[in-house]
Symmetry: C2
Subunit: 248 residues, 2 copies
């Protein structure tokens, strides 16, 4: 059973202000909970169905914090429409301050609002081996349950840093690529050096003017048909794929 104290706490963690105050977030579903445990992240509470507890007894043997509950209870406190497995309440990690490593790629998100887009971009970063994402303070919160769900475990391997972007990019000592309509074709790009920053702008308004001034190269995905634009998650993937290909 999930006590009323934990029910209240988990429900409060749907909102950013309580996640911030408690420095906790939650992870739902079989795969993501097992990944959190395997990664050794500090889990404050762990709720699982009897069937799931039995099936994964060894993985869930985490110092006596496991509590059994019904799948209905998991659905009631969480955001999934069905969850026959588990939910973990996890401490928000404190990452070391970001410093750019030579020849490495860093994603920069300027006011990405949609949690699904942010989660997708975290997963893409992880696929392409990008370890750091700089986010403007108005970008969606990476511990929003929808972001965590869309990131599919990749939030464990990618560090997100929320900070004013103009300040961070003002001291960039690597190229700063920005996704625009009408920039250089990413198929034909010649890179001066491997590594740099890849800036993606807001879903509706693109890259803001105070960030634009630090873009050293405007790049574009070539269009062959009639669509006016691509979703920002799709654009992130295609740009990462091209830049990683070109820096091999």
């Amino acid at each position: 059973m999930i006590s009323s104290k934990w029910t209240k706490l988990i429900k409060s963690l749907h909102l950013k202000k309580y996640r911030k105050a408690e420095q906790l977030f939650f992870v739902e579903g079989e795969k993501a909970v097992l990944e959190v445990l395997a990664a050794g992240w500090p889990v404050r509470a762990l709720f699982a169905t009897e069937a799931f507890s039995t099936q994964h007894a060894q993985a869930l043997n985490t110092g006596g914090i496991l509590q059994q509950c019904s799948s209905e209870e998991l659905v009631k406190v969480g955001t999934f429409s069905s969850n026959n497995a588990a939910l973990a309440v996890v401490e928000i990690p404190q990452w070391p301050l970001f410093s750019a490593k030579a020849q490495s790629w860093t994603l920069v998100l300027d006011n990405i609002n949609d949690p699904g887009n942010l989660g997708t971009i975290i997963r893409i970063a992880d696929w392409y081996g990008i370890k750091h994402i700089l986010c403007s303070p108005d970008t969606a919160d990476c511990y929003n349950p929808k972001v965590v769900a869309a990131a599919k475990g990749s939030f464990l391997r990618v560090q997100l840093h929320y900070l004013p972007l103009a300040g961070a990019l003002a001291h960039a000592n690597m190229p700063v690529y920005g996704a625009y309509l009408g920039g250089e074709n990413v198929h034909q790009l010649k890179l001066e050096t491997a590594g740099g920053y890849i800036v993606l702008g807001n879903e509706a308004n693109g890259i803001s003017s105070d960030v634009s001034q630090y873009i050293s190269r405007q790049i574009t995905i070539p269009a062959f048909g009639g669509a006016e634009s691509l979703n920002v998650g799709i654009a992130a993937a295609v740009i990462c794929d091209n830049l990683l290909r070109l820096s091999q």
Copy 2:
């Protein structure tokens, strides 16, 4: 006002069986409705707010079928959580039978279940100038309101054909590329010829065995990090981007 007859009809069109029976679907929101009208698709009924009707009087002058209503009524009959513009009831187009054109690319979707993924893939096809998508009969319906919303007008320019895929691919006279884990790296691919089929499999199970037998080349997006997989919409975009780049 939206009459009770139209309210009932539009609400029924949320479901595939009524869309099929009536051969109608609906399009919501400012941009998509204007695109439908500009494309000259046969619109059976058009509901718009007074403000939107005034602002777009010329575009909405479609032979007397325009009816004014409130934005609350648009929300009540449709799927959007807000709609201050319009909703159009549109006839489902009858596309000519598909036949592959030399050097052109065709997407093939084997049981893509999620409407958001299908809409995203239609938009990607349109971006890359791909005019035809073959869909297995169990792929999501392209006139589902969620697909229409995610496709952002691209459903007007891409023709979807629902048919048994194995039968269609058995007669393919161009390469059939299939997205797998562990195939040829798309960054290093050499194409024998421009054009062909690009097969994408189900979100959970990949390409089915009866379709697999017709794949002539298994291809893969190279991974650089820890993520196990990419969303099928993301994979579609990266593969199209590489194949179009290689066939320039």
